[in-house]
Amino acid sequence: MSPFRRRQGRAPVLAMVTWVYILWSLLPVLVAVRISFNSGKSRSTLQPLSTRWYWGDPTSSVWHDDHLHTAMFNTLQLAALCMLIATPIGVAMAIGLHRWRGKLSSAANGLMLIPIVTPEIVFGVALFLVFTQAYTGVPSGMTRQLIGHITFTMSFVVVIVRGRLQAIGGQYEEAARDLGATRLQAIRLVLLPLLAPAIFASVMVVFATSVDDFVISSFLSTGASTDTVPIKIYSGAKGTSTPALNALATVMLVFTLLAVLLAALAMKRMNRGDDDGGAAGGLAGLSV
């Protein structure tokens, strides 16, 4: 590897394509955020800055319009509950699948992977039909939406945590067992701390997926009281809408980015000296 052979960083055309792509991927969103600060009703031109659509407007700002903040609370509540339920089930399933051998284990593993490749509309239709035709006892609205979100996101947790388990290998747990820990102690005291970065990454993925979900929420929605932010944004395409929708989307964006940032910082602290395992690692692992 003589130095003159190194061609790293010498690809001006590729570099330009990449930066143009990044600009293209982020600029529209920045414009949408800017429009949320418009003082007038236009959603397509830039008007003088104001906070009218956040709280200034007495009827249709995010702060004053009941429909908008109901949607926001619904979305955050769904995401929080989904995180709390899908993550532990998923982590346990990853640990279980990792050590379980045999025919039945392959079947369970396949079952876990299928939701990842199932188009969301199939999910939405299937859940809609099962709740209206079979599980009619489950309260409609948010309970059903929550079950849907958990079913949809659980496999992501399993895949991310399993990737980490494979990277860790079995020796730490075996050492703990040799030193006299019970199986549960070995998991609690050794394995779970080692898995923490992956668990954090999957919590973030579950949160982002749930907050972002439109199809399942919409198929299981029962009207305005169970609308989520994506549903509100979607229905804003028809009829007249104001920059309040942009403001709503911006507030959610800030929430998500803050959550991701906090989780990433926490992960970095836990992860000192470890090479990767950040959000990118988790996501990349998810999609391989």
Partner: protein
């Protein structure tokens, strides 16, 4: 043991749900109320509804929608490859010290709500929006173009914009893992850099290219919100997802909708099976 709650959950809410789609599709319809009567016992299945839907898919009105869906997905995939490959290649092999930064920017769209990203485009592409202003300023077109009026290219731009981040990451992780020594060897043996790319890097990246394509194609086939949102629901850009959604939620003909879902899944079966097969094989290798 630990896998049981997860397996139970998926059986109860995923497997049974998908089975409910079959029970409704092959069931009967109440002659007076027009509500579906699902046939839970496969021995009582009747294929009348399914065969009439199949007739409409092969040569009927639904056929045009299917063909259009294939076109949209195909063109969007092409767009994803043309944009995504250079970007993934640059980040994986040429970005040098900027790699962390660029990777962070590539992951950013994951944390921005999909519908917010689409909303941003409806703001930009409005008749008095910025895209028209810029194009007009550059003398590339007259004062106005109605982008959001049901144009196929608006839908394709939207789909590419929406899904290209999901395309880039799996491809990136494959390109990044290609052994640099193989590329060095190609150069040492006298190949030009273009030849090395075509004969070493490109063939080695095919698995990543396939994974990235499958992971973007599957959700695109079930997409109905991107096109609806970007064309205010114009029938000229309707995809198969729109029909499914309408039969289930709009007009109440769940039987037709359920049949369409099964037909869509049959079309996608090969892609889903390919993804499952490669993922399970990779897991086996990692488990060793």
């Amino acid at each position: 043991m630990f896998a049981m709650p997860g397996v139970g959950w998926l059986l109860l809410f995923f497997v049974v749900s998908v089975y409910a789609v079959m029970a409704v599709a092959f069931g009967a319809v109440d002659p007076i109320l027009r509500t579906p009567i699902p046939a839970w016992n496969p021995l009582q299945w009747n294929a009348r509804a399914m065969s009439s839907v199949l007739h409409r898919v092969f040569g009927g009105d639904l056929g045009t929608v299917f063909v259009r869906t294939f076109w949209f997905v195909g063109l969007s995939l092409l767009g994803c490859i043309l944009i995504g490959y250079p970007v993934a290649y640059f980040v994986a092999r040429k970005a040098g010290k900027y790699r962390g930064l660029v990777l962070g920017m590539l992951v950013l769209p994951f944390w921005i709500s999909y519908l917010m990203r689409m909303m941003a485009w409806t703001n930009l592409l409005a008749p008095d929006g910025m895209v028209n202003n810029v194009l007009h300023f550059l003398h590339l077109q007259g004062p106005q173009r109605y982008w959001l009026d049901g144009n196929w290219y608006t839908v394709v731009i939207g789909l590419v914009y929406g899904y290209v981040p999901f395309f880039i990451l799996p491809l990136y992780s494959t390109l990044e893992r290609i052994d640099g020594r193989l590329i060095e060897a190609g150069r040492d043996l006298g190949a030009s850099s273009a030849q090395t790319f075509l004969r070493v890097t490109l063939p080695l990246s095919v698995p990543g290219l396939m994974a990235a394509s499958v992971i973007t194609i599957l959700p695109m086939f079930g997409d109905y919100y991107t096109n609806t949102y970007l064309t205010s629901g114009s029938p000229k850009t309707e995809m198969i997802g729109n029909q499914i959604e309408r039969y289930l939620l709009g007009t109440s003909q769940p039987q037709t909708g359920a049949s369409l879902v099964l037909i869509l899944m049959a079309f996608l079966f090969v892609l889903m099976a390919y993804y499952l097969y490669t993922t399970i094989r990779q897991q086996r290798l990692a488990d060793r």
